[in-house]
Symmetry: C2
């Protein structure tokens, strides 16, 4: 099976959570919207939005044989057991998915720090609102989510190596990506957070050093963080500057 | 099996999507945070947030025997096949769940019309930002989501009676609740939308008339819409007044 991922070609965005799973899972996959030629590129991705059977609302989209799957957490829920990066039993799958959905909630709030009014407007047109929202994010929401995930990791009865259980799951990969993104977007606030939530930051380092993830990050397949994605670095939104 | 739902006792909120599924599915359940006495009430709900095995981030929370499940869409994904309100085959379950996750995305945007800066602040303290965000919501985001769901319903190869397939799923119940909520929160904008998305509004009426749903809505178990929930009616945020 060659999986086909469809996602915006110039940002990590939500597609990155799927890429990390495919990479660590050793899957064969195409990153179709980043390819050129017939049946590839953004045009191919946009065509899927008009699928007659199960049209997705937005990328990322995964094609797996005859299945077309949308929603990041849904894609990971599907891939997990197939790539052996999720438990197989129902209770474990539900808990893994639940954590991923909480990460998805966190991502919306991270994104909305720079776009609190409308995704269709430029950051510059909602800078004032962004300052207010980011202030609350750094002071209240980011600590609330990180404290929660730190607790989950600390309570794992199988030890603090993974978010849950004794083996790597896609939640660990997603958690790595969240910490990496926060370091990029909010370097000051995140440096302070690293002291408060040491388990999460240690997890980030461990994931980063896994051979497949390290090779992926060093490859041209990894798009660099930039100010078009979910995680954007606007110094005025980081704690130090306010 | 008696299911136990834990959710804030004075609002419909996200808990309502679970309640509708339990009601239509004919499940035996307790709405624990609304009960009083030992082991009930909000205190019982708050205790679950400290669960040692799978602590949820936030309500709603469902206890099903030994399982403790968080995240609304995850709860519905679990309940679906058990209450016979979801397909059993994997492809159908994924598509159902994908639609539910898109509804969840829509709900965040609906909520943030009145709280674009911070959930911890009063509406009155973010009224100006709310006006800007709600204007974009009514003009761009609400039509984008409704157009999408109308398309999905219209494309259902089994007919326009349900969002997918030939039998009721929890997505139909959730779609009913979204339309009901929009009618409450944005009466003017929603009246206009009813003409543009007739299939969704016909679905809303059909679901409302189902015997179990009609009985539930007429019962004291149904909390009325109010201005503490996701759907809030502030006339200044509705299209007519701007």
């Amino acid at each position: 099976m060659v999986y086909e991922l469809y996602y915006w070609p110039t940002v990590q965005g939500r597609g990155e959570f799927v890429r990390l799973a495919l990479e660590e899972g050793g899957a064969r996959y195409r990153d179709v919207a980043r390819e050129s030629g017939k049946g590839a590129g953004i045009a191919a991705m946009m065509r899927l939005l008009n699928d007659l059977e199960s049209p997705p609302f937005a990328p990322p989209i995964l094609r797996a044989g005859r299945l077309l799957i949308g929603q990041t957490a849904n894609i990971l829920h599907f891939l997990g057991p197939r790539l052996k990066i999720a438990p197989r039993a129902e209770a474990g799958r539900l808990w893994t998915h639940q954590l991923q959905l909480t990460i998805a909630d966190f991502l919306v709030e991270i994104h909305d720090t720079h776009h609190p009014v409308a995704g269709s407007l430029y950051y510059e047109d909602q800078k004032k609102e962004a300052r207010r929202r980011a202030a609350d994010f750094v002071k209240n929401r980011m600590p609330k989510f990180l404290r929660y995930f730190e607790k989950v990791l600390g309570q794992n009865v199988s030890g603090e190596r993974y978010m849950l259980g004794a083996k790597l799951t896609y939640v660990d990969l997603s958690m790595f990506q969240v910490i990496a993104g926060l370091k990029y977007a909010f370097p000051y606030a995140t440096r302070k957070a690293a002291r408060k939530y040491p388990r999460l930051f240690a997890l980030h380092t461990r994931i980063q050093e896994r051979p497949r993830i390290a090779a992926y990050i060093a490859s041209p397949r990894r798009i660099a963080f930039n100010n078009d994605g979910i995680f954007r670095h606007y110094p005025e939104l980081d704690a130090a500057r306010r």
